[in-house]
Amino acid sequence: MSGSGPERIVIVGASLAGLRAAEMLRREGFTGSLIIVGDERHEPYDRPPLSKVALTDWVPPENTGLPWLADLGEVEWRLGVAAGALDRRSREVVLADGARLRYDRVLIATGVRNRPWPDAGQAALAGVRGIRTREDCRVIRDLLDAGPQRVLVVGAGFTGSEVASVCRQRGLQVTVVERAENPLVGPLGGVVGEVAANLQRAAGVDLRCNVTVEALEGSGGRFRAASLSDGTTVEAGLAVIALGALRNTEWLAGSGLAAGPLGVSCDPGGRAYAVNGMAVDDVFAAGDVARFPHALFEYEFLALEHWENAVVGAQVAAHNMICDGPDRRAHVSVPVFWSVQFGTNIKSVGVPALAGQILVTQGSAAQGRFAAAYLDGDRVVAAVTFNHGRSLEYYRHLIETASPAPVPVGEAEGNVPEDARFPDPGTPYEPPTVIVSGRSPTSMVARRVPAGGTSHEQ
């Protein structure tokens, strides 16, 4: 690091990306002031366990603090207060309590929040809860401990499916309501969604697809039942709302950054774009909130709500914050994610939503143990495995080398590609965890979101 490097770095967001960025800064020799802002009052903790093991009686939600993998030295933690604005002219982060934090470099790692249940009154009923924070997990776990007659899960994306899985492990009756044809169709398409539906039903889940919840009903301020669009009613002791996520970018309105509902646009090195399409040298973004053009996928802008993306994106951004141009790196790793549900290890590499077709190449989808390649034309752009995790590296290699589909082998011999059945963009479905949102930096189009919220440029 040269002598003229930054002296004060502010990281906005005290979760996985924020922590990994801080570690990288110290590891690479940044000795200046480091300030970490977080709207929750906790030091960084890991979220994936909250919809899985932390809902069981084994690991309490309070026990998921992330290890610090480097000596962070002096850090000024500003926890329990959200960022309210970014003033790029004075180079200050303005906190919700009015405090102003000057920066030489700032990292935006404010992540996402749960999409709320649309009716605020119904959402306020006791026993209606989404799951994202440690406190959410504690509330839901305590309600599960109380032994409800039935649990209602609204939305069969990864989080909802994982919660349903824990309920069945605990011997609880659970109804899952999903408006798409099957669970997981947003991230993995209808073919794989059908396999996921079979897993749920085999585990005893009352899975209702192509149905929506019209109203959550309570008595005495406590959730009691839900009325569904097919005219039926489900009585349950609690309702877990799992309708996907919204990106925390509202605080950046007025900053002049290309930030909005799709995330904070940045280059592959994490440098944020201003609304005029130019990369900004002192503002970086990483984690769930960032969207960046990915070299492996024709510079398609991707926003990835994946654990690995938070780690790598934060490390890349942190590195780039404190080094000179020629030493800067790009975030080009292949997206990867995992889920554990109903005794099945689900893993994926690449971006399934970019594919038109799917080809089961190993194992048997009907038996729930398989690997499948997602194809855009004849190129492999993604793969998914169900209890077939060790083959994933092979597919990662195919994606990185823009290879055509492998020949199906073993039980899969003779399989041919079929429509992966991703939802029509016009059809409502659970939002995928990968959002494809543009072609290249040069084709970004200004879009203004009208009144009702903050004005966003995209």
Binding site: P48, K52, F342
Partner: protein, 65 residues
């Protein structure tokens, strides 16, 4: 102690579940569940598990200054 497993890297070899069953469990055929904050009394087993992991997916906090 605090640990984290990179589950994208984990290949389900289950060495950890043999070496430190109090902190690591295999769920179903190949999925790993683990305790991110195992008791100190498990620390030796957890450190051995981290060292033995064939894909080095387990990160153990080195201890804070």
């Amino acid at each position: 102690m605090r640990i984290v497993v990179d589950l994208a890297v984990c290949q389900g070899y289950a060495q950890c579940a043999f070496l430190a069953p109090g902190a690591f469990r295999i769920y179903g055929e190949e999925a790993l569940l683990y305790d991110p904050g195992p008791d100190e009394e498990l620390s030796e087993g957890v450190r051995r598990a981290a060292a033995a992991c064939p894909v080095q997916a387990i990160a153990v906090e080195p201890g804070r200054p």
